[in-house]
Symmetry: C2
Subunit: 309 residues, 2 copies
């Protein structure tokens, strides 16, 4: 058996502060055209796909960052993208900064089906970084300042012939992320990221180790839950701050099925057989036969470390 | 700062059905001598270190396998190993099949401190394989027939200047294993394994992919909990059934610090700086700042998959 979902990982190169939403959407449309030419069923753009990675910039008054947020979705700036996806009958996912009518701020991604309807929303749960200006870092990473932790859990949606979930950037380092989706039978995880090429707290941890940790986290999540993982970067130099690439598609064995070189706009298209998830789910990771939840209690009972006496 | 614990991963080559406990203990003593010559503080032997990997052999009457089990620990056959460890002031861990006074069967490992006292016991929780003879497999893997799932959780012990935990073989593929120990601040996980070189349910999955999944699981567990992982194989051809090697020591970044080639008896000694766990535990994996247990509920609330409607 095979159930092929052809997915396009649509990497974006850097977005400078000066770029408008309309300029970015025009770039995204070019990538959608390329994905269509390669028969993609689904196109996946990165985290914060409409703007620069603004959490690197400190504002004493948080409201000064509100212009990076979308108060509605779709909105006029992104409507051409929705229109083209519907015209192409192509599913779509992208990330953006969400400002709710109640004034809440989230780092959000959406899942749009082939009819152009938004059928899923995910709000980033594992926000990295810090709240206040940190003079000891080589650069700021203020996600905990500008966003609230997501409040929608890790849902999985039955759509496009499979079971699809989403997570964002730092979520990928947390095995709980994949496991909660794995417990819903997820067959493909869509994951956008904006990852600085250097650790702001350890200058010696450069691109090579950052890419190693990235691949390791994707591969472990894929293997241990027998799911595809589609990881899409925003990459390159944004106003003097470098984001790593590493756009790739990982198969349910944890092997890299396809990888995109470089840090510019580009699509990586791969036909993903969702039935390739069956073997793992039915044998070594057949959860109902093998998991022993009576011994997992601390995972949900405690947040931080409690050392033995 | 540095807190060095010099650990010896003591790989065992194959143990044939015909070998006695005394013969095996003599091999283990030779490895302990080698570890001492390299100033090891702690020596770690594999899973089921005293016998062949007997769960590959089917007995209709389970009691026919009882002769592979230890009814007490230490016992006369292993006493020389305990005596030498105490003489050397070396900590020790090894795995064996445990038969309790109440008649329970477990796949067990113990932790012995430098005074020769058994200070910790772990009973394997994630038993792979099956209960009944399976004619569709290329070889049997009857751990679920001969053992009960462990009933002691995943404890961590404060000993030898650090926080040390244990798990066994298939436990390493389950992120819950490391996380429960990580939530106790674990700094070194001791892990013995006996892993067939071929997947009994997919003949095409051979040594290369098996080693890839092994390394992937160790590295992810180490990185995502900022802990050392000491993985020790029983390897080679046991009565016509091949076990893979892959003895290695993984650092808290998920990088392989040292690896042992081959499938024979041998020690791999590495000075592990337990303070190298601090950076990860205090930054990206500072659990108390970053974990969001309100979204992890399914991990402990449900055993198997519940797909969305």
């Amino acid at each position: 058996m095979s159930r092929i979902l052809t997915v396009a990982a649509a990497q974006l190169g850097p977005i400078q502060k000066s770029e408008t939403r309309e300029q970015v959407v025009a770039r995204m449309i070019k990538l959608m055209d390329q994905a269509k030419a390669q028969q993609a069923d689904l196109i996946v753009y990165p985290e914060l796909a409409l703007t620069t990675f603004f959490p690197r910039w400190y504002h004493e008054d948080r409201a000064e960052a509100d212009h990076w947020f979308e108060a509605s979705m779709p909105n006029p700036a992104v409507q051409p993208l929705f229109d083209l996806a519907r015209h192409y009958k192509m599913g779509m996912s992208f990330g953006y900064a969400e400002l709710t009518p109640e004034g809440q701020h989230f780092n959000t991604s959406i899942l749009v089906d082939k009819s152009g309807a938004i059928i899923g929303k995910y709000r980033k749960i594992h926000l990295p970084g810090h709240v206040e200006f940190d003079p000891e870092r080589t650069h700021q990473h203020l996600e905990k300042r500008y966003f609230e932790p997501g409040d929608l859990g890790f849902p999985v949606w039955r759509t496009m012939g499979g079971l699809i979930g989403m997570c964002i950037c730092n979520d990928r380092r947390w095995p709980e992320t994949y496991r909660v989706m794995g417990l819903q039978g997820v067959e493909m995880v869509l994951l956008g990221f904006n990852t600085p090429s250097v650790n702001s707290q350890r200058a010696g941890e450069g691109l090579e180790q950052r890419l190693f940790h990235h691949k390791l986290s994707l591969a472990a999540g894929a293997y241990q839950n027998a799911t595809w993982v589609v990881a899409v970067a925003k990459a390159g130099d944004e106003d003097g701050h470098h984001l790593m690439g590493g756009t790739m598609i990982v198969d349910p064995n944890g092997e890299i099925a396809a990888v995109l070189d470089g840090e510019a706009d580009g699509v990586l298209v791969h036909p993903c057989d969702l039935d390739a998830t069956r073997f793992g789910k039915e044998t070594i990771f057949d959860f109902k036969r093998h998991r022993r939840i009576e011994h997992y209690g601390p995972i949900t009972a405690q947040v931080g470390v409690i050392e033995p006496s």
